[in-house]
C-alpha cells in the first residue's frame, strides 16, 4: 500500500508539472482551444465511436450468421483501427502544393483496396466456417 501511494504521488506530481508547463507556456486563448480539443476527443470517442460500435455489434449479431461473426469482428478491429489511425493520411489534409514529397501516395485508392480485401477475406472465412459441421467453440 505504501508503495502504491508513493507511485501515485509521483504520478500526481508529474501530471501537475505538465499542467504547469501548459499554463505557463501558453496564453488563455490557447488554453481554451486545447480544452476544446480535450473535450472533443472524449466526446468523439466516448459518445460517437462507442455508440457507433454498439450499434454495429447489435446489427452484426442480428444479421450475420454465427460462423461469420468471428471473422467480421477481427476485420472490424483491424480495419477500423487502421482507418482511424491514418485519417490524416487518408484525407491528405496537410498536403502542400509546393512539396511533392509529402503525402505522395494514392491513399484513397489504397484504402478502398484494403477495404475490398478485408470484405473478401471475411466472406471467404465466413463461408468456409459455415461449411464446417460444427463451429469450433
Amino acid at each position: 500500500m505504501r508503495a502504491r501511494l508513493a507511485i501515485g504521488a509521483v504520478g500526481v506530481v508529474v501530471a501537475l508539472y505538465g499542467a504547469l508547463l501548459f499554463l505557463t507556456r501558453q496564453d488563455p486563448g490557447q488554453w481554451l482551444e486545447v480544452a476544446i480539443w480535450f473535450a472533443a476527443g472524449v466526446v468523439a470517442h466516448d459518445v460517437l465511436l462507442s455508440a457507433l460500435l454498439i450499434g454495429l455489434c447489435l446489427v452484426g449479431a442480428r444479421l450475420l450468421p454465427a460462423a461469420w461473426r468471428a471473422p467480421a469482428t477481427v476485420a472490424l478491429v483491424v480495419w477500423g483501427t487502421l482507418t482511424i489511425a491514418t485519417i490524416p493520411m487518408l484525407t491528405r489534409a496537410g498536403a502542400r502544393a509546393d512539396n511533392a514529397t509529402l503525402l505522395d501516395r494514392p491513399y484513397a485508392a489504397t484504402w478502398w483496396t484494403i477495404s475490398a480485401i478485408v470484405v473478401l477475406l471475411v466472406a471467404v472465412s465466413g463461408f468456409l466456417r459455415s461449411r464446417r459441421p460444427r463451429a469450433q467453440e
Binding site: 505538465g18 501548459f22 490557447q30 476527443g41 466516448d46 483491424v78 493520411m89
Partner: protein, 390 residues
C-alpha cells in the same frame, strides 16, 4: 420491444469481452507504448534545446533517426491499443457514484477525474501527434510543440497514477488465466464472437498492421509495405523535403549570384566566402541521415566543406557553440545553435552536394548544415551566416 430512455448502467453491457482481463493485457502494452513515446519525446525536446547542460552526443549518427522513428511508430501502434482498451472498460463510465458515503464519493470523484484527464490527454496526444506527422494542423492558436510536450507530462503522470490505483487488480488478472472470472462484472457473461484471447491477439495484430502500414516513412526496407505512410521516401536527389524554398521565401535570395556566407567571430565580421570559395576548399563526403521530428527520415550522401575547417580558416576558436542563420526571413528555426561538440565533429559539413549533385533549391542550395544525430529541423538550409560566440 419497448424503447428504454434510461441511461445505460454497467449492467447494460453483458459481453464477457469487456473485462479487466482484456483491459490489463492490452493496457500493459499501451502503457509500454506511452512510456516509449514519452522517453523518445524527451530525447527530441532535449536535442532541440539551444544549450545542453549535459552535451547531446554526436554519435551514433542515426540516434535521433532511430528514437524519433520509434516515437511516431509506437504512437501509431498505440492507437489500436487505446481504442480496444477503452472499449473493454466502457461500462465503468456508467457506474453510479456512491452518493451515500462521503468519503467513498470523494475518492470516486478524484479517481474519475484522474481517468478523465488520462483519457482526454491520451486521445489528444495521439490525435495531435499523428496529425503533426502528416503536417496537418487543424487548430488555430496553440503551438503543437509546446502543447504536445506539456500534455505528455500530464498523460504520463495520469497514467502512473492510474497504474498505482489499479495495481492490485492488474497484478491479479495478469497472473491468472485470461478466462478467469474473479474480477468480472456479474452481468458480463455473454460470450462474444471471439474468445478473450483471440480479441487480445487481434488487437496486437491491429497494432502490427497499423505499424507496418505507416513505418516506411522512416524504415527504408518497409517502404514497399507501408502503403499508407506519410511519405514514399522519394524526393529530389532521392531525399524528401520538409520545407520548400518557396514556403521559406528564399527562392530569390538563395539563387542569387551575389550570395555570400558571412562568418562572425566574437561579434565582429571576420569575413565572408562565396559559393566558388567553398567549392575551392577541401571537400569531404559523409553518409548521414536527415531525420525529421515528424518521424520521417532518409539517408543521404552529402559532400561539402567541413564546418570546423571553414571556421579554422577564420581563426575562430574550435570549442564554441556556433549560431547558424538561414536566408529565411522568418520562422522559429531561422537561426539555430549548433553545440560546440557538433561544430567540432569531423562529420559536420556545410554541404554543397547531395547524391553527387549540387543541392537542389529545396534541399538548401547554395549550402546547408548537415551534422550527425541532429534533429532535421536544426539542419539549417540556405545558410547565410555563421557566428562563433565569445
Amino acid at each position: 420491444m419497448t424503447p428504454r430512455l434510461a441511461p445505460p448502467t454497467p449492467d447494460s453491457f453483458t459481453s464477457r469481452l469487456r473485462s479487466p482481463a482484456v483491459a490489463a493485457r492490452v493496457g500493459l502494452w499501451l502503457g509500454i507504448s506511452f512510456g516509449i513515446c514519452f522517453l523518445t519525446g524527451l530525447v527530441s525536446h532535449y536535442a532541440q534545446l539551444p544549450s545542453h547542460p549535459i552535451p547531446f552526443p554526436t554519435s551514433p549518427s542515426w540516434g535521433y533517426r532511430f528514437t524519433q522513428g520509434l516515437h511516431v511508430t509506437t504512437g501509431i501502434a498505440a492507437i489500436p491499443l487505446l481504442l480496444v482498451k477503452l472499449w473493454s472498460v466502457l461500462p465503468k463510465l456508467f457506474e453510479a457514484p456512491p452518493l451515500h458515503d462521503a468519503r467513498k464519493l470523494l475518492l470516486t470523484v478524484l479517481e474519475r477525474a484522474s481517468i478523465a484527464v488520462l483519457v482526454a490527454s491520451a486521445i489528444f496526444q495521439l490525435a495531435t501527434g499523428v496529425a503533426n506527422a502528416a503536417q496537418w494542423y487543424p487548430w488555430s492558436s496553440f503551438s503543437f510543440r509546446t502543447t504536445h510536450y506539456a500534455i505528455a507530462w500530464v498523460a504520463i503522470g495520469a497514467l502512473v497514477l492510474h497504474i498505482a490505483v489499479k495495481l492490485p487488480i492488474i497484478r491479479d488478472v495478469l497472473t491468472s488465466d485470461i478466462d478467469d472470472t474473479t474480477h468480472d462484472r456479474e452481468t458480463a457473461t455473454t460470450p462474444g464472437p471471439l474468445s478473450r484471447r483471440a480479441l487480445v491477439r487481434t488487437t496486437f495484430a491491429a497494432a502490427a498492421v497499423a505499424t507496418l502500414a505507416t513505418a516506411g516513412s522512416t524504415v527504408t526496407w518497409l517502404r514497399q509495405v507501408s502503403v499508407l505512410a506519410v511519405r514514399t521516401g522519394e524526393g529530389p536527389q532521392g531525399v524528401p523535403i520538409n520545407k520548400s524554398a518557396r514556403a521559406a521565401r528564399v527562392e530569390e535570395s538563395a539563387s542569387s549570384p551575389d550570395w555570400r556566407l558571412e562568418v562572425v567571430v566574437d561579434g565582429t565580421v571576420a569575413g565572408s566566402v562565396s559559393y566558388d570559395d567553398l567549392r575551392a576548399m577541401q571537400q569531404h563526403t559523409v553518409d548521414l541521415p536527415i531525420a525529421c521530428v515528424e518521424g520521417w527520415s532518409a539517408q543521404g550522401t552529402w559532400s561539402g566543406v567541413r564546418l570546423a575547417d571553414l571556421l579554422a580558416s577564420f581563426d575562430a576558436p574550435a570549442d564554441r557553440d556556433v549560431s547558424v542563420t538561414s536566408l529565411q526571413e522568418s520562422g522559429p528555426f531561422r537561426r539555430t545553435i549548433l553545440p560546440a561538440n557538433f561544430a567540432a565533429d569531423e562529420r559536420t559539413l556545410l554541404a554543397l552536394d547531395l547524391s553527387g549533385e549540387p543541392l537542389s533549391l529545396d534541399h538548401g542550395y547554395p549550402c546547408r548544415l548537415i551534422a550527425p544525430n541532429r534533429p532535421g529541423v536544426l539542419q539549417t538550409k540556405w545558410v547565410s551566416r555563421l557566428e562563433v560566440s565569445a
